[in-house]
Symmetry: C2
Subunit: 205 residues, 2 copies
């Protein structure tokens, strides 16, 4: 296993800035390893080794591997939701907010997340799966709220705002393609083009 340092999740403060608790360290490490190697391959021992924490310490914080996986996925989705809220709430226009959001999300493509969750599902309990799916849906609810607002202001045509939210999220999977940033200069440039086509398609005129 190559020992790359874990990627910082969007919205998560730098390790240098804050004292991250043991529990958070375990969650971050688990997220990173599950994303890289899939659910089944990764053991609690590996997770512990990677973040210098003993297996009993992991069990002190998390009842089981499925439970740790659940918390790791929910934490990741909560971070994406927080970033989504931040960008859209503080943007001058919907377009600006979506472009900034696209830039961030294209840099962290989630295509493999769906594959990973599907792989893990046979090992999870029904309510664990449901909690993960709900955390994911809440990202789309934030987007949908902003799209609904734009529809109320008649800048977007009437449509199902959750459909628009899922369509926008799907477009962000462009970040998962081969050589995307080489082809499109930067995630910002690609984000601008994707948001352009998306908003023209969703506009009221």
């Amino acid at each position: 296993m190559p020992d790359k340092s874990p990627k910082r999740l969007p919205g998560r403060p730098k390790q240098a800035d804050t004292q991250i608790s043991v529990q958070q360290t375990i969650i971050l490490t688990a997220s990173k390893l599950f994303k890289e190697y899939g659910y089944e391959t990764v053991t609690l021992q590996q997770i512990g080794k990677r973040c210098n924490v003993s297996k009993p310490t992991i069990y002190y914080h998390f009842a089981s591997k499925p439970e740790l996986f659940k918390v790791a996925m929910i934490t990741m989705f909560q971070n994406v939701r927080r970033v989504t809220s931040d960008f859209l709430d503080h943007a001058e226009h919907l377009e600006d907010g979506l472009i900034r959001l696209a830039e961030a999300r294209l840099a962290n493509p989630h295509a493999e997340v769906e594959t990973m969750i599907r792989e893990a599902e046979p090992f999870l309990e029904k309510n664990q799966i449901q909690e993960i799916r709900e955390a994911e849906a809440r990202i789309h609810e934030v987007l949908a709220t902003h799209f609904q607002l734009a529809m109320d202001q008649q800048t977007l045509r009437e449509d199902d705002p959750m459909f628009l939210a899922e369509t926008f999220s799907t477009l962000m999977l462009m970040g998962n393609r081969e050589n995307t940033t080489q082809k499109y200069e930067s995630n910002l440039a690609l984000g601008q083009r994707l948001v352009g086509i998306f908003l023209r398609g969703a506009k009221s005129t």
Copy 2:
């Protein structure tokens, strides 16, 4: 391993209709197993067992597992390209062709294909990877040709036709989401909505 019968690839005739050669059977079975379990997990023995072919017979047709994987991926992409051509060449309007294409592709989402190819890459030679990527790019070339035609006729705004092709392909990953057909009635209905937003976004006015 659950013994589900392999999904028919788009554009591929039913087994009942045609006598499929041993080589084609191996390719189809390999595609199915690699997609379901990933590159590393699947052995040539499993592939042989699933399609009642001995391991020496597989080696008679394919020099190695990486070679079989390469041919399986290229065959799959060639099928998608053929379907893409058929639908777009024979459609009355670009919109009709894209909707029919979307219906077919939403039913066979390729999100896991990218994950699988990435997983396999460390085991492949450079030229094997390149051949797979070229087969994939040829799908986008077919789409791009039709988009360029529409730009020449000024029904689409001037844009990079390969960007539009990749954007369209990315939108097809909506078929990979949880409960998509439940939420959107059918792949046809979802396809119509996605093509709608895509074409309005790409249109010249």
